[in-house]
């Protein structure tokens, strides 16, 4: 036996997905989260899981963890007191940013306060030019002076970002050494380590966030690793990165900014895995929880990656799974704007008090209340009746909407859902149409507690032919963690014209990255068999201010010889430019801006496919309930238990599929096929749109 456990910590629940690599046996488990110390629920949950499902903890070899510790610390501004150190003349870089304000018209909405206040922003007399060559060398005396001031400043962590140090880290490293001499315990983040890329503000900000998160995240991960060692001595801990892929506790402590989107990224990785397994490698994901919905695109079984995104109002420039978040969840509240138009979200009733139907004091109308009024959710509620829902309270919350609009209770509830669906539809359009993809080429994969309730309406709105509901929609994130690779991204920023004369320098850059990757494979002790490398170049037309990341080679080993020639690179760039912008200019000069290497060590071993199903002729319903699919009136729909639907089974709507943590309404005329992996593939019919 060799068990692997994926653990995803959410706001309400901590989800576990355990798998025995030897037998393929899988176990899923849920515990309430412990927000003050999320590690508590992980450790106690592992023990409870072990006891309840006969999973010996000494046989657990890996624990893969998705965390929101960093995200929450940033949102709640609970990070460390940091010093920020810049080149002389540039101490205000973090304050000025890109000099833009967050909203054109709102005079009171401000960009967030810088993470380092004026008293903790330092300048150092040093300067490199645009080639990385010293114009003003950093003297020993200046390094000593600055280090002494920083050490005495009372900061718990320090971020150092010098102009052009991504080309030459010597000055940053020299100052770091001087600080370490005087303050051995201070955590130091160098921009040339955290994000060695062109563009000083984004690099500095990313580095400052790293420093800000370091003491807290490092403390958390180190505590968790120790706790884990006590109960599961054979287990190694991996923490999920925002770009998908795990990193070790040591690297997590050094680069906590890489976990800013750890949780949602796990969902996208899990969805990609399920999409491949279900034989539908092109899906748009709709991960809908209590407060928001995350949308991502998976193409050919792979998640798409973005290289910059705002978290808590700060830009972070690092590889992250490309996810669009919209304020539409089960708890989203309906309200009327000043012009009388009805809106849904982004304000949410959250878990406390929750939707009105929870009976915890909430009175405002939410998406969940509307689903209950329409019979799409049952009064027995979620978690097999452990959390009953009150239809009378839901109706009381929706009724004022109906009265104000002048329609029936059910019409108001359908309207509320239609608005939430319109918001999610816009999000899917942003991720597909606005990126040059046609949503009709994708299936919509619905997960999260509320995703399956709404996916059908979103799909119909976008002309998508079918909806895929995973076997366990509530724990896709934990499943994503289970199948994640160990992963590291390396970058070398070097601007070169795309020309024969540059190839020598380009090959040298690739050789450097290959060496970095080899060192990392060795340090992480990853088996040879599962090692892969991917090389990509950031290319652009000379004069453009943005780059296209162009994959150029992938395989078990990549060296300088694998770098394609100039013409081949240009052709790859043209294709990328066509996809992104609809055209390319074959005559314009191209330049290389960055070299990127991604190293992966495969940890997950796919087991044999599940045994061939006994195709049951017809599903057996456990009851009926009236469900409003359309405004024309309720339809008696049979209710099926998800676990009773075995692979190979097909049936038509109207129907309701209930399971522990999700409900899937099947519209009249829609057709359901239970796939070999247990997913439901719902093909949209004519009715109900």
């Amino acid at each position: 036996m060799a068990w692997t456990v994926g653990v995803d910590v959410g706001g309400t629940f901590t989800d576990f997905h355990a798998r025995d690599d030897a037998t393929g046996r899988e176990v899923v488990f849920k515990r309430p989260s412990t927000p003050t110390d999320p590690g508590e629920a992980i450790l106690s949950g592992l023990k409870a899981l072990s006891a309840a499902h006969d999973v010996p903890l000494e046989a657990v070899t890996r624990v893969a963890h998705g965390t929101t510790v960093a995200t929450n610390a940033l949102i709640q501004r609970r990070g460390a007191r940091i010093a920020a150190v810049a080149t002389q003349g540039f101490r205000d870089l973090l304050e000025i940013g890109r000099q833009v304000r967050p909203h054109m018209y709102d005079l009171n909405l401000d960009k967030p306060e810088p993470l380092a206040g004026p008293a903790l922003r330092f300048e150092v007399a040093e300067r490199l030019d645009y080639r990385g060559e010293p114009v003003t060398p950093l003297t020993d005396a200046e390094a000593a002076r600055a280090a002494a001031e920083i050490a005495a400043s009372g900061a718990e962590a320090v971020a150092i970002c010098f102009l052009f140090a991504y080309l030459n880290p010597a000055h940053e490293q020299k100052l770091a050494a001087a600080i370490r001499e005087r303050a051995p315990d201070m955590r130091i983040s160098l921009a040339s380590d955290v994000q060695p890329e062109f563009r000083e503000y984004e690099r500095f900000q990313t580095t400052a966030i790293n420093a800000y998160l370091q003491p807290l995240t490092a403390g958390y991960v180190e505590r968790l690793a120790v706790g884990l060692r006590e109960i599961a001595p054979m287990a190694t801990l991996g923490v999920n990165q925002s770009s998908g892929g795990l990193m070790s506790p040591v690297r997590t402590s050094a680069y906590p900014v890489r976990t800013a989107l750890s949780g949602p990224a796990a969902g996208a990785v899990g969805a990609a895995h399920i999409a491949r397994r279900a034989g539908r490698p092109n899906v748009a994901t709709l991960d809908m929880g209590g407060t928001s919905a995350d949308v991502a695109l998976i193409t050919d079984g792979l998640t798409e990656i973005a290289f910059q995104r705002a978290v808590a109002g700060f830009p972070i420039r690092l590889a992250m799974v490309d996810i669009d978040t919209v304020g539409a969840g089960g708890g989203s509240i309906a309200w009327f704007d000043r012009d009388g138009l009805m809106k849904v979200g982004p304000r949410s009733a959250g878990a406390e008090p929750g939707p009105a139907c929870y009976g915890q004091g909430g009175t405002e109308p939410t998406v969940t209340d509307a689903n209950l009024v329409l019979g799409r959710l049952a009064e027995t509620g979620l978690l097999d009746g452990a959390m009953p829902l009150r239809r009378d309270l839901a109706a009381a919350a929706i009724r004022p909407l109906a009265e104000r609009v002048g329609v029936s209770l059910e019409a108001a509830a359908l309207g509320l859902l239609a608005i939430a669906v319109a918001n999610m539809t816009r999000s899917v359009r942003r991720m597909s149409v606005e990126r040059g993809r046609d949503p009709r080429d994708f299936a919509l994969m619905a997960f999260g507690g509320a995703g399956p309730l709404h996916a059908r309406d979103v799909a119909a709105e976008l002309g998508m032919a079918d909806v895929l509901v995973p076997p366990a929609p509530g724990i896709v994130c934990a499943e994503g963690l289970l199948v994640s690779d160990q992963k590291e991204d390396f970058v070398a920023s070097q601007r070169l014209p795309l020309a024969e004369a540059s190839l020598e320098a380009a090959r040298a850059a690739v050789a450097g990255l290959t060496a970095d990757a080899a060192a990392w494979f060795a340090a992480e002790d990853l088996p040879d068999a599962g090692r892969t490398l991917e090389l990509a170049l950031d290319l652009r037309y000379v004069g453009q201010n943005f780059e296209l990341i162009t994959p150029v080679a992938a395989g078990p080993a990549i060296g300088p010889a694998d770098l394609p020639g100039v013409d081949a690179l240009a052709a790859l760039f043209f294709a990328a430019h066509d996809r992104a912008y609809g055209f390319h200019d074959p005559a314009a000069a191209i330049e290389i801006v960055n070299f990127r290497m991604t190293a992966r060590g495969r940890l997950y071993r796919a087991s044999d496919p599940p045994a061939a199903p006994d195709a049951a002729a017809t599903p057996v319903s456990v009851g009926h309930r009236p469900v409003w699919f359309t405004p024309s009136g309720p339809v008696e729909a049979p209710v099926y238990r998800r676990e009773a639907l075995s692979p190979g089974l097909t049936f038509e709507g109207p129907a309701i599929v209930d399971q522990l943590d999700a409900t899937t309404p099947v519209f009249p005329g829609d057709r359901v096929e239970v796939r070999a992996d247990g997913s439901l593939l719902i093909t949209l019919g004519g009715g109900g749109a």
Binding site: I96, V100, R101, R338, A422, G436
Partner: protein, 533 residues
């Protein structure tokens, strides 16, 4: 009863936003100009069959919205019912076609369903060049519109689905870098056609009548919403006077005066007393003045109100014919952005006594522009580096102003120092907040931005356009004025020589540097203790 309730209307409105955003992104991606691609100096909108604005893309710019609406009025007046499926209209002229300056080129496509005109899809984009006497079509020193570039009246460039290449050839012959401009024009045409397809789909779904009724209902609700907002202003007459430094050519101390009369929710803005139009290029057409007034009102009263024709038309604006706020042919207008900022300042200043808990002190009130040009010694090629620099935002009734940020009608980003130094033979010696430039106050004003730039290995030319160099951003409610902007030449030994607020073609020697301080902003309220800033 239109058939649209509060739910149906929200869903229609969401669909319109989605179309506008898709067109906005499509235009951005397919264009060639840095202005459009990276600085997003473009906008998209949907008008009803009468050319009245129904919805715009989230990222649309206030001044563009007025231009698009202006073009529609001209198209309706010129072509009446002679508008057919597949037509495409284009215009840019501020004096005869509703525009605000020539580089902003407008396109509008009518949408037909079942043979009936139901809507227009519009987009506007700032081209990097539209011809005229100077590259970029934006330089100072131009004194009439003919010098500023090609003037395009409302013109039918597309007939029944076909683009009139001969008209497009005239446009391209009149622009520098015609190949790039062709890309921009095609991007605009493609975005218009995309919008036309999407609105047609919408029209098929709702029917021509349904769409028309939905649009009417959206306008009615928007009108009611903005009318409610206007009622916040107590009855009275509120006056304010401010001055611009100069027009860079002939005139100094250019007076702006406004009297705002509020009476039972109706607002009139009278600019009587405002200076005559100038020879320099800072004039506003009435459309540009309106967009600045509406900007200020929305910011003060209802920042999240969607822009519609009802919002654009919600107040009366009077400005003397031939004044800088209502300039007549052949006034030059390319540098209108500075003047729009000043209109916002006088409107806010006037309303301060009426809305004491909403109005901030004066922001930097400029669109500070610094242009460095020369020949790159590394490759012998000519270069031009242009930047507009933010400044302070005014101290607010509830909190201090912000340091180093764009305000008012503009919100464009800076260029990274590492990008400047890599692409141009320039070195940035200092980039930070201008010391002491935030006006003292209970809530101090924000500080301006300092940028010090030195040519490397050659001598370069500096052109600067600044405002509020002599008339500092005012404080409010006892707050002190913010620091004025300034330009200076810094010699190799560190001596500084002041430069004028409109500096033209100054040679910067090797070893010398130019210092640019954008203005700070006024403070709000009497300082509690010692001065700040």
């Amino acid at each position: 009863m239109s058939g649209f309730d509060a739910i149906g209307l929200e869903i229609l409105s969401n669909a319109l936003k989605s179309i506008n955003d898709e067109c906005f992104v499509a235009l951005m991606k397919a264009s060639y100009s840095t202005n459009i691609k990276e600085r997003h100096d473009h906008s998209t909108a949907i008008m009803n069959r009468d050319g009245r604005l129904i919805a715009q893309a989230d990222m649309s710019l206030p001044i563009h919205v007025a231009s698009m609406s202006g073009l529609m009025q001209c198209v309706r007046a010129k072509y009446g019912d002679d508008i057919h499926a597949g037509d495409l209209f284009v215009a840019n002229d501020p004096h005869v076609a509703g525009g605000t300056h020539l580089p902003d080129v407008n396109f509008a496509a009518p949408v037909f369903v079942d043979g009936r005109l139901i809507a227009f899809v519009c987009n506007i984009a700032h081209h990097a060049d539209i011809g005229g006497m100077a590259a970029g079509s934006m330089s100072g020193g131009m004194t009439e519109i003919y010098q500023e570039g090609l003037r395009i009246p409302a013109t039918r460039i597309g007939k029944r689905g076909e683009i009139d290449q001969e008209i497009l050839d005239i446009f391209l012959l009149n622009a520098r870098a015609p190949k790039e401009r062709r890309g921009d024009y095609y991007a605009q045409i493609a975005a218009a056609r995309l919008g036309e397809r999407r609105v047609t789909e919408l029209g098929r779904r709702y029917g021509a009548e349904g769409v028309g009724a939905g649009f009417q209902e959206l306008l009615a609700r928007s009108a009611a919403r903005i009318a409610d907002a206007l009622k916040i202003v107590p009855d009275g007459v509120y006056r304010f006077r401010d001055m611009m430094d100069d027009d860079g050519v002939a005139t100094q101390d250019i007076v702006f005066e406004v009297a705002v009369e509020a009476k039972a929710g109706r607002l009139t803005f009278d600019f009587a007393g405002t200076a005559p139009q100038t020879a320099g290029n800072i004039n506003l057409t009435l459309n540009a003045t309106r967009s600045a007034v509406i900007y200020a009102l929305k910011a003060l009263l209802d920042p999240y109100a969607p822009n519609t024709q009802a919002v654009i038309d919600c107040v009366e604006i009077e400005a003397p014919s031939g004044s800088i706020a209502n300039a007549l042919f052949p006034a030059s207008v390319a540098g209108r952005a500075h003047t729009c900022q000043r209109v916002i300042d006088v409107v806010m200043g006037a309303l301060a006594p009426a809305l004491p808990d909403r109005v901030p002190a004066a922001p930097n009130g400029a669109n500070t522009m610094a242009v460095f040009s020369g020949t790159d010694p590394r490759n012998g090629e000519a270069y031009v580096y242009l930047e507009t620099i933010g400044g302070g935002s005014g101290g607010r009734p509830s909190k201090p102003g912000k340091d180093g940020v764009q305000t008012g009608i503009t919100n464009t980003s800076n260029l990274p120092v590492e990008a400047i130094e890599t692409e141009y033979p320039l070195m940035v010696l200092e980039y930070g907040l201008a010391p002491g430039s935030g006006g003292a106050g209970l809530h101090p004003g924000g500080r301006g931005i300092r940028r010090v730039v030195r040519p490397v290995g050659h001598r370069c030319t500096f052109n600067g356009v600044g405002e509020r160099f002599r008339h500092a951003p005012w404080g409010l409610n006892g707050g002190a004025p913010g620091g004025p902007g300034r330009f200076a030449m810094r010699s190799a030994n560190g001596d500084e020589t002041p430069l004028p607020g409109k500096t033209g073609d100054l040679v910067v020697p090797e070893g010398g540097a130019v210092l640019v301080d954008s203005p700070g902003a006024g403070g709000w309220g009497k300082p509690a203790g010692g001065a700040e800033g």
